[in-house]
């Protein structure tokens, strides 16, 4: 994997949500690089802020979200400084595309798959000819492995299964030839066999379309299969960032280690399922210091006082933990 070029860089990103009962700091000071051609997995529990990262990059956050600070650099330009119109015209679809968690909710229920797909192709590639559009729609649907593309194109979302819809969503996302694909938990709502199929499909398409992928998931097993590098997030901050095999086989951060211990192994007999005691901190009342400190059995005095920073401990393997600083 030629990790020479950085295609996308996130620097000091902070995103807040404004709610009735307070401000939620979903992402705090996050920094990472996405190298060209790689698969970066963002792993974390629900509420760790991982989905917010994806939505922030493509600027499709809910209306109560505020990007407090940071930069997102793509091809030398800071995306956060671009107007929404420019984002829509030049970035979304053209450079960065996204697929979402719930394939059934991803498509507008009042339009057929074909209509949605052809609209995306039409507005992006400027193709107006109906025949040409039709051909591209069918070919795109076939590329994602749908056996009867004509029928799928004619169907409405409620007439198709989750697996088919997710394939169709991938078709739409890739129809505009983006360079970066953000996949937000694309297999979470699918059963295991479908999961494997979709992951295979994504791997194949990644090669074919020469994509760089940000793969967001809470499932370590999926991450292990898919990623080149892993970013572990917790309560809005990055705990560990490094090559997949490194992080998953020799985790440096106590949280990552605990996380891996919780994964039940099929070949070992287990008396009790392991879990990490305690709960995620209240996002409105984040403790000063390391957010994992209350649940960490290696916590030190300093952990409760100050937030650890991401430092490179091994080549290309960064950790945010006071053990290493």
């Amino acid at each position: 994997m030629a990790r020479t070029n950085t295609i996308l860089e996130v620097r000091n990103l902070s995103v807040n949500y404004v709610t009735l009962e307070g401000v939620i700091r979903a992402v705090r000071n996050l920094s990472f690089k996405l190298y060209e051609g790689e698969s970066l997995c963002v792993v974390g529990e629900s509420g760790s802020g991982k989905s917010t990262v994806g939505l922030a990059i493509i600027r499709a956050l809910p209306s109560n979200a505020v990007i407090e600070s940071g930069e997102i650099i793509l091809e030398g330009k800071n995306l956060l400084k671009l107007s929404d119109e420019v984002m829509s015209r030049e970035i979304r679809g053209k450079k960065i595309s996204m697929i979402f968690q719930d394939p059934a909710a991803t498509f507008n229920p009042l339009f057929t798959i074909g209509q949605t797909l052809s609209d995306v192709i039409k507005y992006h590639l400027g193709i107006k000819d109906k025949h040409e559009l039709g051909k591209r729609v069918i070919s795109m649907l076939r590329t994602v492995g749908l056996p009867d593309p004509e029928r799928v194109a004619r169907s409405y979302p409620h007439e198709l299964s989750g697996g088919m819809l997710q394939r169709a969503a991938i078709a739409v996302a890739l129809s505009t030839n983006p360079r970066v694909l953000i996949a937000d938990e694309p297999t979470t709502m699918l059963d295991v066999t479908l999961q494997a199929q979709i992951l295979d499909l994504l791997a194949k398409l990644k090669e074919e379309f020469n994509l760089s992928v940000i793969f967001i998931t809470h499932n370590l097993g999926v991450a292990a299969e898919v990623c080149d590098r892993v970013l572990v997030m917790y309560a809005g901050i990055a705990f560990e960032l490094g090559p997949c095999s490194d992080v998953l086989l020799n985790p440096l951060h106590p949280y990552t280690r605990k996380l891996l211990e919780c994964v039940p192994r099929a070949h070992r007999k287990v008396e009790k399922l392991k879990y990490i005691p305690g709960m995620l901190p209240d996002p409105r009342n984040l403790p000063t210091g390391c957010p994992f400190a209350p649940r960490c059995d290696e916590a030190m005095e300093i952990c409760r006082k100050s937030l650890p920073k991401l430092v490179e401990v091994k080549p290309d393997h960064k950790v945010a933990c006071h053990k290493y600083s």
């Binding site: 709610t19 009735l20 409105r284």
Partner: protein, 292 residues
Amino acid sequence: MVFEEAKLIFRLIKMNPISMAGLVIVVGFIILGIIAPYITPYPLDAWGLTYNVEKRFLPPSLEHPFGTDEMGRDVFSRVILGARFSLIIAVGVVGLALLIGIPIGLIAGYLGGRIATILMRITDMFLAFPPLLLAIALAATLGRGLINVIIALAISWWPWYARLIYVQVNSIKNLPYVDAARIIGLTPIKIMLRHVLPNALTPVTVQAALDMGSAILEAAGLSFLGVGVKPPTPEWGLLVSEGWTSINIAWWISLFPGLAILITVIGFNLLADAVREAMDPRLRKAIIMRRV
């Protein structure tokens, strides 16, 4: 559990001044309706028992803030007492409609099958009439009068509540926790009713309480058309229609009762909006997260 809900909703309402205004109006109306007979400045006028030729058609003044009508009666007193009648009608209509509709909806929802189909078909037959139309027919048949108005409106209203309850019970029936209760071994009928019933009833009763505003509007409409309460009952709709013939020389007779209806119904509608927003699950999430 229900009180927790109520406290939550109240807090949310307090946060919005417009919603608060609605609550104030509704509470004010209810209080006014209860104490009305005791605070009217001219009680005999209010009940329509007087006829003062010299005092006819007096414009609004200090002694008569809303002026006097064609019988020389103080309009202000009549409007105040009208609140009592509107309250009676509102509570009566909604109460009676619930009394008829809830059992029917419950039976249909719980028993399902043929009986449900028949009951719901009957409900549909009633719903073929636009609001008030059936009440007009009934009121024309039964004749004028307070009780008849309440009956007529309640009969045209119960299908809504029956249907609401039916849908509620149906959806609750299939919820996992009902299955869980059955699996644990709780005796089906009695304890299911204790789980299913409160949850099914809550949205409907809330809806009904807020519907009282519409009841007032519809009753006023019936009175205006001449099939509502009997004169000289000072019901607001009837007051408006009584002032109609002399509206050119005494606009105050029709204006103020109508204004009373407007303000009261606004109050109910604002409150209904606020409660609906407060019960919206998405807003809930924001509050629940604090608890966690």
